[in-house]
């Protein structure tokens, strides 16, 4: 038996090819004679197409075809939202609308040409007449009575109104000794995988089969959607997520019109067709997330213990509802790690004329954590207590799991935290940032006129969702173990992690194990990589299939060696009797006998043919990862510049399979969260025209902005799966906006500055400083008691 691989800090096997330029991303695949596609996209946020003429474009040498929405009648079927609700007023999202367009960037025609250069030339030659319609550029406009409608002729812009409650929040707020309220806004942000989206397809007339290469996070989901839209059997559609995909982060888990159009065109033209999104398109047409307005009210006692939370959320669904996953995650994340006896959450999801929103790393959680953690600080300030102490008093304790929150999670099950130790995360984080000393340091800095602040954020993250994920394991003819996952990786290191897990299940060295991912032709069922779910769902499936395979291999070897299975074990790539290499059969020999066999000759008695095992794991409900972040910052009130002096992350994702990779996930997630905290703004104007459409206007963090971080882990294994694993993909992204905003407000407390928006940019800080000066001036003449947010001490 080899040493345990689960938990080992192993370098990745995929690195060698990626470091030498031998990665196989979609645009690298050799598809001889593939034509290039370019989409014509709406320049208007809301418009009707009144005339379309592609004559000149078609005349351009090298142009093979132009299709508009009107040419695609047979595939103009609504793309189904991923997560539904019976009360959702779903406005049909068509692959390429023939009449009315609902956001800047919506595809309305596609050019197919010999090269992308020619296809882009042709786009310029297409004549379109538009009737421009009034547009909705924010949820505030969307919900304004008598305001413009995102979809002409619709009854309102509201997609769904939902509420969640436990206890009686209204009554508890009415009777609470203290209440505070505030309005918070979080800005849209994107996934910004460095490789944009891409789809290629080839039709095989002889078999009637379509092969589709897609940078999707969910190849089986894409196949299922396509089989419905094309009315084709799943087996005639093969969706392959290439072994190398340049990042996903949520937007690539969604399903888009381009994914419907490209394979259809390939079938129509009987030529391979490839579309590779450029960054300009990605800015206007890849789904985004984040923008929400929260009006939150909290009630608490003199000790700072929460009595009630009421939160009214406006969620920007964009032009269509790609699914309700994000707002439903937000609603169930508001209570976080705290005991909230009375809670009421109202959601107003509405349509706007901006690119549809769906999950982006963190998926609805950063918003909820932002508002709750901001209020924890406000409570502390109101009572003159330390923010760490207020959190301590409200945290769910380590002996209270499983903990029933009282409301429902997005999977419909009662929100129940499986395991965790929130106090240990908080205390560990405080200890590592040197909290008491940091507070003294803050006092010293303040005395010198410097603005230093400390911000905390504690969170829980529902992850490891069902319905299921699976794996297949086979002994190949060459005597290697092949682990096949439905899940498609985007850089998480699946080829390494699942070889580790399989090695432990098999009791066999990793060097004999290969992993393949993301191809619907290799494994029939799957869900995909999203919602930090794969290690907790696919991991157990791999482990179980590996254990089954171990039993099969040993059984088969025992028959051949004429002994009992209990007497044999692996030695390198052989199964040995009693550790004797002379009495052994190799994996290749086992494949020879049980898988290949001798044509027409009976199998040795007792050998079962076909060394292949499969397992699907369906978790009972979501697992809960958790964490605590602490930031110490210095703010320059003149410029609004923030310097991060120190940052500590405490993280708990249950069992850590590979610490090197988990650290990578957390730190990468942190950088994304820092972007949401301080830089990333997908600004749209009131007419819903995107204003940030290049990296010159939309800032992604570089090595210069991301500070060194101290990271520690605790491991509270989940009881919901045999590995005890929880999700690690998004936790790092969730709390930084809260931690940074808390730190900035804390730093500027002497000036009475309020931070209510994310990202906290220099301009916003400067504005808040000016506003605080203004309110100080007016406070001398009017009563400050009207400030429902409570005055900072």
């Amino acid at each position: 038996m080899s040493e345990t691989m689960i938990g080992a800090r192993l370098a990745r096997r995929e690195d060698e090819r990626l470091l030498t330029g031998r990665g196989r991303y979609l645009d690298d695949l050799d598809l001889p004679d593939a034509l290039a596609a370019a989409f014509l996209r709406s320049p208007h946020a809301h418009a009707r197409i009144t005339a379309f003429d592609a004559t000149e474009a078609l005349a351009l040498p090298g142009v093979v075809a132009v299709f508009s929405g009107a040419d695609l009648a047979e595939i103009q079927k609504p793309l189904a939202p991923k997560v539904l609700h019976p009360e959702l007023r779903d406005y049909p999202r068509l692959p390429m609308p023939p009449e009315e367009l609902h956001y800047v960037g919506e595809p309305l025609a596609v050019v197919i040409a010999e090269s992308r250069y020619v296809a882009e030339d042709a786009l310029e030659l297409i004549e379109v007449d538009y009737e421009v319609l009034p547009a909705v550029g924010s949820t505030a406009i969307a919900l304004r009575p008598g305001g413009p409608l995102a979809h002409s002729g619709d009854e309102s812009n509201v997609a769904v109104l939902l509420s969640q409650k436990a206890g009686d929040a209204e009554e508890a707020l009415r009777t609470a000794p203290h209440t505070l309220s505030e309005e918070f806004f979080l800005m849209r942000g994107g996934g910004h995988s460095m490789e944009p989206r891409a789809v290629a397809a080839r039709f095989e007339p002889a078999t009637g089969q379509l092969t589709i290469w897609d940078t999707t996070q969910s190849p089986h989901y894409a196949r299922q959607q396509l089989s419905m839209i094309y009315e084709m059997a799943e087996d005639d559609l093969r969706v392959i997520a290439p072994s190398d995909v340049g990042g996903g982060f949520g937007p690539k888990a969604q399903f888009y019109g381009e994914e419907v159009v490209i394979p259809w065109v390939a079938k129509k033209l009987r030529r391979a067709v490839k579309w590779v999104e450029d960054r300009q398109e990605n800015f206007v047409s890849a789904m985004m997330e984040r923008s929400q307005t929260h009006r939150i009210e909290v009630g608490f006692d003199d000790d700072g213990r929460l009595l009630a939370v009421k939160d009214v959320i406006e969620h920007d669904q964009g032009a269509y509802c790609a699914g309700l996953q994000v707002p439903s995650i937000t609603t169930s994340t508001v209570p976080g790690p705290y005991k909230v006896p009375n809670i009421a959450i109202e959601l107003r999801a509405c349509y706007t004329n901006m690119v549809p929103t769906s999950s982006v790393r963190g998926a609805g959680r950063p918003q909820a954590v932002f508002v709750m953690e901001r209020m924890m600080d406000r409570i502390a300030a109101h009572l003159g207590l330390d923010p760490a102490e207020v959190r301590r008093r409200n945290l769910i304790q380590a002996d209270e799991f499983p903990y029933q929150v009282g409301i429902t999670f997005r999977d419909g099950s009662p929100l129940t935290y499986d395991s965790g130790d929130f106090p240990a995360l908080l205390e560990g984080t405080l200890e590592r940032i040197g909290y008491d000393e940091a507070r003294r340091e803050q006092a010293r800095s303040r005395a010198e006129g410097r603005y230093v602040g400390i911000g905390l954020a504690v969170y829980v993250e529902g992850c490891g969702l069902g319905p299921y994920e699976g794996a297949k394991i086979r002994l190949t003819n060459r005597g290697r173990i092949l682990v096949t996952l439905a899940a498609a990786g985007q850089g998480q290191g699946y080829e390494t992690v699942y070889a580790q897990i399989a090695a432990d299940g098999l009791g066999l060295g990793m060097e004999h194990i290969d992993v393949t991912t993301g191809d619907t032709a290799r494994i029939p069922f799957g869900q995909g990589t999203f919602a930090s779910r794969i290690t907790a769902t696919c991991g157990p499936a791999v482990f179980d299939a590996a254990k089954q395979m171990r039993a099969r291999l040993l059984d088969t070897a025992a028959v051949l060696l004429g002994c009992d299975p209990s007497e044999v074990d692996f030695a390198d790539d052989c199964v040995c009797l009693g550790g004797d290499r002379e009495k052994s059969v190799s994996l290749q020999q086992l494949a020879q006998v049980a898988n290949i066999g001798k044509h027409g000759i009976t199998l040795p008695r007792g050998v079962k043919a076909g060394l292949e095992t499969a397992s699907y794991f369906s978790p009972e409900r979501a697992a809960y990862a958790s964490g605590a972040h602490a930031a110490m910052v210095e703010v320059d009130p003149e410029t609004g510049g923030i310097t991060i002096l120190k940052y500590v992350i405490g993280h708990d994702c249950g069992t850590v399979i590979n610490p090197l990779l988990v650290d990578g996930q957390v730190l990468g997630g942190f950088a994304h969260g820092l972007g949401n905290a301080m830089y990333e703004e997908a600004v749209y104007d009131d007419e819903a025209t995107p204003q940030a459409t290049s990296y010159l206007d939309y800032a992604l963090v570089s090595s210069a902005e991301v500070p060194p971080v101290e990271l520690f882990h605790i491991q509270t294994p989940s009881p919901l799966n045999p590995l005890g694993a929880k999700g690690a993909g998004e936790g790092g992204t969730v709390p930084p906006p809260a931690a940074i905003a808390n730190a900035v407000e804390d730093a500027l407390r002497p000036l009475g500055v309020r931070v209510t928006r994310a990202p906290v940019t220099p301009a916003r800080i400067a504005d808040a400083v000016a506003a605080a000066h203004g309110s100080e001036a007016s406070a001398s003449s009017t009563s400050p008691g009207a400030d429902a947010g409570g005055k900072a001490p």
């Binding site: 330029g21 490789e195 340049g246 290049s694 990296y695 570089s702 090595s703 971080v709």
Partner: protein, 158 residues
Amino acid sequence: MADHTLSVTVNGESYDEAVDARMTLADFLRERLRLTGTHVGCEHGVCGACTVIVDGVAARSCLMLAVQTDGAVVETVEGLAVDGELSPLQQAFKRNHALQCGFCTPGFLMSVTAALREDNVRDEDDAREVLSGNICRCTGYSGLVRSVVDVAKGRSDE
């Protein structure tokens, strides 16, 4: 249309090709020479994924035309490992988990390779400076910073 001729040396091999004036160096490398290690992430000079070394200087191949490299010596990620042996920087990337999806990786390797040749990376601050011209969405940079410091230190310790 392919009305410009171009002689260029890429990773030690010479090529004579006819190209459109407007073909970018990135597309020339990827599509014509099938050296697909050089990636295109933004096509507006910000992400650095397309970075190659032209006559010893790191350059964004999305902002350069292929014809501009007539007579030049170009190095791409495919040329970094010699006889299958990863360069010290490539090894450091692997050791320090400096890559996840790997899409940004070739650009980082080329930018840093060019910078390290100038031998002026002394500490973590310099490393961050050298890396700051490229964007990575996956790693959060800490592994990249460690890799650069490792290699720079290795060199000065020699």
